[in-house]
């Protein structure tokens, strides 16, 4: 069942176009993450869905109802903000109750709902405190609590974890995921943090300059990026990009990178390969590993020129005919700079892009 439908949404401020041609169908219970660099329009899209900003053209449906011209309060949504946006002069309890009171629900019922949700979020002992007396993580919980008590059809999260420190961010991420699993409510979540996006999303929307680049499961987007931007934006360290030329010989397809020739038998071409076509070959560092002697793997002897230790693994930069490629090696793998060793390439996970359009071919 489609829960939210965004149809041909455009947004401009004067001459500046913020969003172009956004269309998106969201199923009930999905966890959609809008991901992109700052200024890509992801927050604007969220605000438009919330009704906090008007559309230039297009329409929004929530729960089968056209809500394009409805006020935020009539859209059956709740929102969590980056700055938490708690009402600072009210207690936590009043913050959570206020929205329900405005809807004229009986007080006894409100009290019960607030107590229950506060217990669920582990903030029931904070109900009588002011927001200024809470830590960042607690504030964020209260902000989520204020959204949860309304029992809306859709939750909107606008970079909710950006103001937290790294460790807290990790644990809050897990909690948001658990919360989603428990409530089963549709969620739209805006972030520029790819780790949050990859771990939380059931579907990912990658955006750039107001245009949707790719929509898909985190796995799809990570392993089959539809263009070079998406490929580059996800993953750390970033994808290796190598200029190559396609070669057709003996009924097989090859990619020529300098003097090295890489077989492309396992690549699923979208377009028919043409001999001599210049392409960009993309390989994730995860696909470049130490050769373990397995027959099937494609291996090259490469010289290590730089090693970065991250603790759990090492990022090793190799020299491939004068080009740099980075691979991820286990931390316990003994290695020193300047040594040449056999390196295995997982060619099933490779991507090819057009040099001009930067689209996957």
């Amino acid at each position: 069942m489609i829960d939210i439908r965004v149809v041909d949404c455009h947004k401009s401020y004067g001459q500046v176009r913020i969003l172009r041609d956004i269309s998106l169908d969201i199923e009930r219970g999905e966890f959609i993450v809008l991901l992109g660099p700052s200024g890509c329009g992801k927050s604007t899209l969220l605000h438009i869905i919330a009704g906090l900003e008007p559309l230039t053209s297009g329409s929004i449906e929530i729960g089968g109802r056209d809500v394009t011209d409805l006020e935020p309060k009539d859209r059956d949504i709740a929102m969590v903000f980056q700055s938490y946006a708690l009402y600072p002069t009210m207690s936590v309890r009043a913050n959570m109750e206020f929205g329900l009171r405005m809807r004229g629900r009986p007080l006894a019922e409100i009290r019960a709902v607030v107590e229950e949700k506060a217990k669920m979020l582990g903030i029931d002992h904070l109900l009588d405190r002011r927001p200024s007396q809470l830590s960042g993580g607690q504030r964020q919980r209260v902000a989520i609590g204020r959204a949860v008590v309304r029992e809306p059809r859709v939750f909107l999260f606008d970079e909710p974890l950006s103001n937290l420190d790294a460790k807290l961010r990790g644990s809050m991420r897990t909690e948001i995921k658990k919360l989603h699993r428990r409530l089963g409510t549709t969620v739209i979540y805006v972030t520029h943090d790819q780790l949050e996006a990859m771990t939380l999303a059931t579907r990912l929307v990658v955006m750039k300059a107001g245009v949707m680049q790719q929509v898909g499961t985190p796995d799809e987007v990570y392993h089959r990026p539809l263009n070079r931007f998406t490929a580059d934006f996800l993953g750390s360290p970033g994808m290796n990009f190598l200029d190559a030329v396609l070669r057709l010989a003996e009924g097989r397809v090859w990619a020529e990178v300098g003097r090295t020739v890489i077989p492309l038998d396992r690549y699923a071409f979208i377009e028919r390969p043409v001999d001599g076509r210049p392409v960009v070959l993309g390989l994730r560092p995860d696909s470049i590993r130490p050769a373990d002697g397995a027959e099937a793997a494609f291996t090259l002897d490469l010289k290590a020129t730089l090693i970065e230790h991250t603790g759990s693994e090492n990022h090793v930069v190799f020299d491939l005919d004068g080009r740099e490629v980075t691979g991820k090696f286990p931390a316990e793998f003994g290695l020193e700079v300047g040594r040449t060793l056999p390196v295995a390439f997982d060619l099933a996970r490779l991507s090819l892009f057009d040099t001009e359009t930067e689209l996957r071919i």
Binding site: G51, L52, E71, K73, S83, T89, F98, G99, M102
Partner: protein, 290 residues
């Protein structure tokens, strides 16, 4: 060594102004307190110590009591009107209206005028033969009267209106700055929660402006205690002494009635009033800092 020289130089540079403040501010405060315990007449004389007698006499003087209670009445009315309208205008301007700058300037301009000019302007406006009354009468409404300046029981309103005209801009500017400082997300959260705008102002935004209220009250209160030129220009304390304020009383006693002792006592009482306003404010401020 270098550090010591630097510190020495900074102390050297600061010391003249510190000395000036010490002598001309605190020195003269002390001097005034001293004079208030003497029976000085036209000139200060320290050979006749009378203790607190001048203070007892001060509060036995009907004119002082009128002036002193006028200060509280005027202050209360002025604060209520200024804060009420200042906040209202700030909220209206905060609605992202067009020509915001024009409206802001209109409200702020009177602030640029001295109280003497304000007093004279309002004296003309309230004068039956020159001002609003004759204008309205000219339209044919001959029954219309404003006798604020000549009626002892309403003359205080003339002061309130003139002071409000001048002081409203400051209150408005402070409130507007406070309103603009409120996180946009609060408004968005309230919109999603379905809270009507007037309730957001009443329950969320105005409570958030508490520090601004405090600042406005303190600034305006100090202006009230010091108010002198406005009264002199607008009513000169009249009719009779009905619009007297303590500062006018003090000036009169010192320079016209040759009663320096009583004047000093009234000055000390005024200082006490200022401190009664300032000390709690500074206390609250310093506690919030921590």
């Amino acid at each position: 060594m270098r550090l010591r020289i630097r510190r020495f130089i900074s102390q050297l540079v600061l010391s003249p102004s510190l000395a000036l403040v010490a002598v001309f501010l605190y020195g003269f405060i002390g001097w005034t307190v001293a004079v208030s315990t003497t029976a000085s007449k036209a000139s200060p004389r320290f050979d006749r110590f009378v203790g607190l007698e001048q203070y007892v006499r001060l509060f036995d003087t009907p004119r002082w009591n009128v002036a002193f209670s006028n200060m509280f009445l005027f202050g209360f009315l002025f604060l209520v009107v200024t804060i009420g309208f200042g906040l209202l205008i700030a909220v209206l301007i905060d609605q992202r209206i067009r020509f915001e700058g024009v409206f802001r300037s209109i409200v702020m301009y009177p602030m640029a005028m001295s109280f003497v000019v304000t007093g004279v302007v309002w004296q003309w406006l309230l004068s039956p033969t020159l001002g609003i009354q004759s204008l309205v009468a000219g339209w044919g409404f001959t029954g219309f009267h404003i006798d604020w300046l000549t009626n002892p029981s309403t003359v205080i309103w003339a002061l309130v209106v003139a002071a409000f005209w001048q002081g409203c801009g400051l209150a408005m500017a402070l409130f507007l700055a406070g309103l603009r400082g409120i996180d946009e997300d609060i408004w968005k959260a309230a919109a999603v929660d379905g809270i009507p705008a007037w309730r957001v102002y009443l329950h969320i935004v105005v409570p958030m402006l508490a520090p601004v209220f405090l600042t406005v009250i303190v600034l305006q209160s100090l202006a009230i205690v010091r108010a002198f030129d406005l009264v002199v220009a607008l009513t000169n304390g009249g009719p009779g002494v009905s619009s007297d304020l303590p500062s006018v009383f003090m000036f009169d006693m010192a320079f016209r009635r040759a009663n320096l002792g009583l004047s000093a006592a009234s000055a000390v009482v005024m200082l006490g009033t200022v401190l009664a306003i300032l000390v709690p404010y500074l206390y609250v401020e310093s506690r919030e800092r921590r």
